[in-house]
Every structure is written in C-alpha cells, then in structure tokens.
Amino acid sequence: MNRETTVLKIVILLLVSLTAHANDELTVYTVNYPLAYFAQRIGAEHVHTVYPAPPDIDPAFWQPDSADIAGFQQADLILLNGAGYAKWLDRASLPQRKLANTSVAFQHDTIRVEAAVTHQHGPGGEHSHAGTAFTTWLDFSQAVEQARAVKQALVKKRPQHAQAFTHNFRLLEQELVSLDEHVKNVVSRKPDMALLASHPVYQYLARRYKINLKSVLWEPDSIPDQAQWQALQHLLRTHQAKWMLWEGTPEPQSVKRLEAAGIGSLIFDPCANTPEAGDFISVMKRNIMELEKAYRD
C-alpha cells in the first residue's frame, strides 16, 4: 500500500472517530459482516459500525494493514467472532478491554476441522480451513447467542441505552429464531438426503439442522480441474448427492458439468462479507429459498 492511501485512511479514521465522539455514538469495529449487521440492528442510532475488510476478500483470511489496525485500536468496542475467526488477530495488537468475543456462550461446542488442504482464492492469499470451523452464525441458534453477546457488550459500554438495545435485540432474535425454525422445517422433509458443499464452510449449518452434507474444495469463480472432478466422483460413490451448495454464483461451465452428472447447483451465501444487495436476514431468507429447491423434490 502506498503512503498516500495510508495517510488518506488515517485521515478518514480520524474524521470518523471525531464525528462519532461528537455525537456520543459508540464506534464499533467488527471482524465480519454478520456482527456488523447485529451491532447496527441492536445499537441503531447509538452506534457507528465499522467493518473495514474489502468486499472482495474473505474476512476470515483478510490481513489488515497498520492503518486498519489503528482504526480497530481507536474503536470503543471491537466485536470478535471467536472460533478462531480472523487469523490476523493472533498477530495484531488490540486493546483487550475493548474486545468482545461473541461466541463465548458456545465456545466449548465449536467444531474441530482436523486436516485440511492449503488453497487460495481471491486476493486473500493461501489458507487452510484446519483448526476450528468458524462460520458460526449459519447455526441460527448460535447467531442468536452472538447477537445476545453483542447486546451485552453494547449495554456494558452504554448502560443508559440498555432498554433500546434490549428491545432491538428481541426483534432481531425473533427473526433469527424464525429463520432457525424455517430451516428445520425444510430439512425435516428429507432428513437423510445427501447434499454436497463446494467449500467446507457449512459445518455448523449441517450440525444444527442435521443435514447430511459433505464438502469438496471448489471455488465458485474457478472451474474445477480434473483432479477435483475425480475427487468428486470418488465422494459420490459413498455420498449420492443430487445438489451442491455454493458460496457464490458458480461458473456456468461448472454448473453444466454438474448437471450432466445429475447434480443441481444451489447458492447458499454464508454472508461473511457485505452482500451486494439486501442484508443478512434477506440473504439468509434467499439461502433458505434455495435450500427448499433441494428438499422440494
């Protein structure tokens, strides 16, 4: 990053900080979009939410520069996802007093991913999914707990607005519980049906809703090579799935080849980053509608 961009970022951060303080707003930094959404819904006009990761990078593997970290350091509250999310936190210096781990309530119930292949997609650099599965919010009961942790963190910082935060949390909780019930109903139609996932990011979704799901390591924006097709064929011998979940819109060539093999494509966006249209709830509703396609047959 060049010097001008860094200086510009610092100036913007200062302006954001000054504006927030002038209004007595709570400046909340988050490590992913779902937490930014929860903070904005619960905090409403009392918080200024900042989620600084670029839209084309998976925030779990994003590496912020010094200016971004300086922004986090200046925040009033930093919402962490927990479950080993955002590897950069291990190497960054953040004020512990401002950190709030939103997955503390279920920290002993996270999913371990034992062995995983190192791979690369987008500008985020090489990474592997070994360690702890981190798309915790795809289990909507866990999403409720994360939203509750956000509410508690906001109340601790601004107790004078506790009533408003609690009210807003209740509304969000109802919507998340409704999503939870909806997925349960959809999956209950064919509880044993096998599904495929293009990427290993749906562990909590599969566990919560008892989805018979197995993953390959494909990217929506690249066409699988011969070895990846062979790995899929090998998997299909024991896991006869008719549908594959994708994180984003897959390449038409991949869709065609899958269709030829009798596998339909569904888009289930984990929504870790800011969606191009809509918000977290609308994206999840769209995801459930997609999921219904598989369970409708």
């Binding site: 590496q63 010094s66 970290i69 300086a70 350091q73 291990d90 190497r91 960054a92 210096s93 953040l94 004020p95 512990q96 007093r97 062995a115 190192t118 650099g125």
Partner: protein
C-alpha cells in the same frame, strides 16, 4: 569592617590548604543531610505516586516487594512467572479489568515490557512521535530510551539474550520502533514496550519459519507422517517480523498457558476491589497486593534507616564543628605573634575579634555557595539519582 574582610581574605588565600579543608568540612556537614532529605523526598514522591495510581497487582506467591518493584518500576529482579489464565480469570470475574505484564527481557540496557494496549490508556501515556505498535515485532519506546540511544520511529532495536552463553537459546528479535512516548517522568520513560505476544516471540514461544508442508529443502525435515511434519534444528526461524513473513508467525498451544510476571487489576469500584482481594486471600498460587501498602512498608524501612543516618550525621557534624572550633583556637594560638603585632600597631582587641569573625564568615559563605550549587545539581537530577540509587 571592610578592611577586616580584606585582611581575612588575604589570610585565607595565603593558607589555601587550611582554608579549603575548612570549607570542605562545613560544606559536607551542610550538604549531606539536605541532599539526603531531598533524595528521600523525591524517592517517596516517585514511589508513592506510581504505587497510589496502581490499585491492585496480582502475582505468583512470593515476595510482594519484588512483584511491585518489577511491575511498577521495572526492576531487574524478575518475580516467579505464572500463566495468562490468571489475567483471563480476572477479566471474567467482571470485578476488574486486567492488564497482563511480562517484564523480563532487555534490549540494550532498557527493560522490555510486554503488555496490552490497555496499559497505555491506564497510565495515560501518549505517543509523542510515530504511532502505537500494531502488529507482532513492533515496539514503542520511552522518552529516555529514545534520547539515550538516539532512536526514532523507523529505527530498530534488538532484544538481548538472557545470558551471554545461552548458545541453545532463541535468537534475539529485531523489533521495529513505531513510536516514542511522551515523557511522563516515571519508569515508563526508561522502557521498551511491546505487545505481550511479541514478548512471547522473544522468548521463543511464538516463531515464524518456512511452511514445512511446502518446503523444497528435505534436509530440514526430521520426520514426516500423514498428520505431521517435524523439523530438525536446521530449520531457519525468522529473527525479524516483516510484512513478508508475518503470516508465518504462530504460537503453539493455548495462549492462556503462556507466561506473564504480573497482572495489573483495575477494579470497577471499592466494593469490587474488596471482593477481588478476598478471592485471592487463601489462594495457594497467587497473591494480590495493594502497591500503596507495599511501598508504604518500604518507605517506613527507608525512613528508619534515614533516622539512623541522621543520627550519624549529627554526631559527625558535632565532631566536625568541635574540630573547626579547635582549628580556630589553635590557629589563634599559632597566630599569637601576628595578633600581638596588630595590637602593638594600635588596633583594638575588637579588631582581632573582627578579623576572626570575618574569616569564619568568608568560610561559611564559601561553603554555603558550594552547598547550594551541589544541592541545585542534586535537585535537578533527583529523578535520575533516585532511579539509580534507590529503584535499581
């Protein structure tokens, strides 16, 4: 009278050694107790202000004084280490917030303080130049460190090995200086501050190296199985954290089991402080102390010693004054012929008295000027002197 002073001055100038000895004796007798009082006042102020502003300190069971001196004044005596879990327990208690400290390593002659950013908020430390450290391997330095070694943001400072012959130890870590703190006239001016995780990298608990699963160099691999790869000692570990290798830095195991030397606990209120202290009363592994009490005990001992020193100085002073009287008495006897001549020249006996009084006055004035000068120097450097004589 002026002529008496002139003759006295000429006499003192002629007997240089005698005059200088008398001036030195009176100077020491006047200077020593006042300088001692000055230094004690300064050390009391320095010790108490820092101790009073630090509510509670948690450490491994052992010497409370070592714990306080290491954590507040960065003394070289390192108390027993314990795990980061203790700091997390305090955070989770909701009674106080915890600032972990790992004060163990050195860079040049300055202590490296591994802590979190909360420390700077708590102590009200501001950045004078540059910025706060943001990632592993970065450091901010105190004003005196910057001044003594001519360091600025953009320079680097290297950690020192714990022992000179520690051949099997970890390599020193080259740390980038990102900022210089504003002078605040405390021990913080003398320290190099890093993130706790950087301190663990200095200790070798965190490190960066080539990815073993993708390395082409087979000679660094000791064993390779499906689940794990074990490297031998040939594997090069990075001695500096850079943009290119920062992603390779990692920590093995649970960070809550990593070592620290103290936890600075900042309770929400008096009730929380009392509850927190109560929790550690019977704890066999940790003790929680109020630095104010520990320093009060230390000062009590210092003042007890000071009163002994005062008595010694008083006796020595009395002996010196008597010696001076003796010197003048003998001097008058030795100068009997000179004084008789003055008397025969027609001067009154009072003139003789005037001459001796003028001599004594000149000696006392000279001693006062030198004492005042020395006291001014001590006062100007009291802070440094106390750090070197009392706190080190």
């Amino acid at each position: 009278m002026i002529s008496s002073f002139y003759i006295a001055w000429r006499y003192l100038a002629f007997n240089k050694v005698r005059s200088a000895t008398l001036v030195a004796c009176i100077t020491l007798i006047a200077f020593l107790p006042m300088a001692l009082q000055l230094l004690l006042d300064e050390s009391q102020q320095l010790l108490q202000s820092r101790a009073t502003s630090t509510p509670l300190l948690l450490g491994a069971r052992g010497s409370a004084l070592d714990l306080v001196m290491n954590s507040l004044y960065f003394d070289e005596q390192v108390p027993d280490v314990f795990t980061m879990q203790a700091a997390e327990d305090i955070m989770q208690s909701d009674l106080a917030y915890a600032i972990p400290l790992y004060v163990r390593f050195h860079a040049r002659n300055s202590v490296i303080v591994g802590t979190t950013l909360d420390y700077f908020d708590f102590r009200g430390l501001q950045i004078a130049q540059g910025r706060m450290f943001a990632v592993l391997g970065e450091a901010v330095i105190g004003a005196d460190v910057a001044e003594d070694y001519g360091l600025h943001p953009g320079d680097a400072i290297v950690s020192s090995p714990e022992t000179l012959f520690d051949l099997a130890g970890v390599y020193p870590l080259k740390m980038a200086i990102t900022g210089v703190l504003q002078r605040n006239h405390t021990s913080d001016d003398l320290a190099v501050f890093v993130d706790l995780k950087t301190a663990w990298v200095i200790e070798g608990l965190g490190h960066g190296h080539k990815d073993l699963t993708s390395t082409d160099d087979a000679s660094v691999i000791m064993t390779r199985t499906e689940d794990s790869v074990t490297a031998n000692a040939k594997l090069f570990q990075y001695t500096e954290v850079t943009e290119d290798n920062i992603d390779s830095f990692h920590f093995h195991g649970d960070l809550s089991a990593y070592p620290i030397t103290a936890v600075l606990a900042v309770p929400d209120d008096v009730k929380s402080a009392t509850l927190l202290r109560g929790r550690y009363l019977e704890n066999p592994r940790y003790h929680i102390v109020r630095p104010k009490d520990v320093i009060a005990g230390l000062l009590e001992n210092i003042f007890r010693i000071k009163s002994v020193i005062d008595s010694v100085i008083a006796i020595v002073g009395l002996a010196t004054v008597m010696a001076i009287i003796l010197v003048f008495a003998l001097s008058v006897r030795l100068r009997q012929r000179e004084l008789s001549t003055i008397f025969r020249l027609g001067c009154s006996r009072m003139t003789t008295v005037n001459l001796i009084v003028a001599e004594i006055t000149l000696i006392v004035i000279a001693s006062s000027i030198i004492s005042a000068g020395l006291l001014y120097l001590v006062d100007a450097n009291a802070d440094t002197l106390v750090r070197q004589l009392v706190l080190r």
